[in-house]
């Protein structure tokens, strides 16, 4: 994506895309004077390179404070922060922040600067050449889906909320930082725009592979965006830090399950694709088959129903045994047209929706060019979901077991250590 930003005077950051860096928080604590209970208490967290980690929790739980300690907008009282194994806890915060993208709620754009000036801020500060900055601005606007020619010279107040937020993300990414911190960035936009911005972020992350730490109080947003989710309770204690699947199927305690909310199994459907469940075969005929053959198939086969495909193998009509009789032998009026199909990339949620609205309780699955692959019916869906949930539960239990084992081991060691110390 950075091919356009080249030139002999360019900084090393340009020319190649810096993908994510690891972040390690070690025993991070923040306490404020005059308040005996720390706002953030002893947080330890490992974030892999290129991973999207969501910090989610009720308001006032310290998730934002934790995020702001990563770029040291809030200085930790104790603990260390390592980015790519480099201890940045005592580094010059201004230099540190120039290497970390930062996007906040309601965009934080400077109203007295144009869109282009806003985006150009960080590259300019880090010493990019003039032409490099100019190209970069265009590129970033393009990246977040705004026409550079149209939006270049506009002021933030001339943009809609969603557009402002896009520019905010563009500004955060302008100097190509390996890490991107996002503090409830989509909190202030309407639900539909938020949905688009989320899709957009998923697409961006697919291209850029940054390490993203994202704060939200919306659990659905967390499930949608996160590779892993850290559910935080008060004082930023990590209640559970795991994949969305694991949290949905096996919340560690009442706090987490309370936060997951009702309908965890339904939410789980969004995380699995049709390709992951059994796609059943279904007897088919094509429109070119002679009528007699279709009759025979219906009469002999164990199935009450056939799927008729069109000339390009696409699902066309559902044919029931009685249909041909009632249509008096004319195929044109027989059967029921196929309304809805799903692809193999559709989520189980979409598939369930299609199955529920179909009178026959099944939906045809199609390939890339719309060709018929198989069907998914209610039974398959239910079985797969049960299997999935069961599998999730097992993995989670194993995980739990491992953790307990590890903890037990640690306590043992500590006890031993304490014993030898005496």
């Amino acid at each position: 994506m950075s091919e356009t930003v080249t030139g002999p005077t360019e900084t090393p950051a340009a020319g190649t895309t810096a993908s994510g860096a690891t972040i390690r928080l070690e025993n991070l604590t923040k306490s404020y004077p005059g308040n005996p209970a720390p706002a953030v208490d002893n947080v330890t967290m490992d974030i892999k390179a290129g991973e999207t980690v969501i910090l989610v929790g009720p308001s006032g739980c310290g998730k934002s404070t934790t995020l702001k300690m990563i770029n040291r907008l809030i200085e930790p009282t104790s603990g260390r922060i390592r980015i790519n194994d480099e201890d940045v806890t005592d580094m010059d915060p201004v230099k540190l922040r120039r290497k970390i993208g930062y996007a906040i709620q309601s965009s934080g754009l400077f109203p007295h600067m144009t869109v282009a000036e806003n985006i150009a801020l960080v590259p300019k500060m880090t010493g990019w050449s003039k032409s490099g900055v100019k190209d970069r601005v265009e590129e970033m606007l393009d990246l977040v889906g705004l026409d550079p020619r149209e939006f270049h010279g506009r002021y933030p107040r001339q943009l809609s909320g969603g557009q402002q937020q896009r520019v905010g993300v563009a500004r955060a990414l302008a100097a190509d930082p390996p890490v991107l911190l996002m503090d409830e960035p989509f909190g202030a936009v309407d639900p539909i725009t938020r949905d688009h911005l989320q899709d957009e972020l998923i697409r961006l992350q697919h291209e850029l592979h940054k390490t993203i730490v994202f704060v939200t109080h919306d659990f659905d947003e967390a499930i949608k965006l996160g590779d892993r989710i850290a559910v935080l309770r008060e004082r930023s204690h990590i209640a559970q830090f795991d994949t969305p699947e694991a949290i949905l199927t096996n919340p560690t305690d009442d706090f987490v399950s309370g936060f997951v909310g009702a309908g965890a199994a339904l939410k789980r459907l969004n995380l699995t694709r049709v390709r992951d469940v059994g796609i059943a075969d279904f007897p088919t005929v094509t429109v070119e088959d002679p009528l007699q053959l279709i009759f025979d198939k219906l009469r002999d086969g164990s199935h009450n129903e056939l799927l008729m495909l069109d000339r390009r193998n696409r699902p066309y009509k559902w044919l029931r045994r009685g249909d041909l009789m009632r249509a008096k032998g004319s195929l044109a009026r027989a059967g029921q047209l196929v309304h809805d199909t799903v692809t193999r990339d559709a989520t189980l949620h979409d598939a369930l929706e299609a199955v529920l609205t179909d009178s026959g309780g099944r939906v045809a699955v199609t390939g890339r060019r719309g060709e018929f692959i198989g069907v998914v019916d209610m039974q398959t869906l239910m079985n797969s979901v049960h299997e999935l949930l069961e599998a999730d539960r097992l993995t989670a239990m194993e995980h739990q077991h491992d953790l307990e084992h590890l903890r037990g081991h640690q306590t043992e060691q500590e006890l031993e250590g304490g014993g030898s110390g005496l």
Partner: protein, 284 residues
Amino acid sequence: MTPSHQAPPKGARPPGEHDVGGHAFRDEEAEPSPPSPGPPRRITWKKLVLVPAVLTVVLVATYLWITHVELDSIARNSLAGDIVEVRWWQHVRLTAISTFWVLIIAIPLGIALTRPGLKKAAPGVTVIANIGQATPAIGLLALLVIWLGIGPSTAIIGMVIYAVLPVLSNTVAGLNSIEPTLVEASRGIGMSAMGTLTKVELPLAVPLILAGVRTALVLNVGTATLATFGGGGGLGDLITSGIQTQRMPVLILGSVLTVVLALLVDWLASLVELWLTPRGLEEA
């Protein structure tokens, strides 16, 4: 990317409209955005012409009147030679110099009082500045004359003390009214404290600071008439001698010129305000 509004919507919804729970929702982003407005004229001809035109008319009328009215020797003495011109320029100089010092003192002080270290001192300093303004200007001047003796610098010191408050309080208010999230965003993307101040905070506070400066300027034109009691000269000389000698034309000339100067200064300041206000902050 595929912006939502380009994706063909399912069913019969027009582009950019979404079907949610059977209701139509228009995508905010899909709304046709108004064509980028060309640079609007910031300073209209009305603004440029109206005030100077009125002031010129007043000046011409006063000139015609003063040259045709019967003046006795005392009145003629008070206006002899280039005495009116000298007083006018004295007045302008008094105003300019005192405003200069007000800016030099009040703006940096206002900035300092909004920095984290000195924030606590702000109420105290505002109280002191308030006392400076609450004291009657004439009393303040008398006290300063007792302390520092007679002369233009005494008058200027008095005027500065008197006019610091509006600029100081507006600078503090302007800087404090900036959304904290903007300052945080600026630090968050890696601006230094100095960069945040000069590139974000001050430009955003400019409208309020300038409003304070404008108030201070007009105040200074007024208080400069009192400089005569401290031996500072200015148009106040004409007014007081008019009163002392009971010569109405002299008094009226001094007053009219003061008023014209105050309006002229206010007009110039309003132009500067328009010119310095960042484009993005203007009303749509």
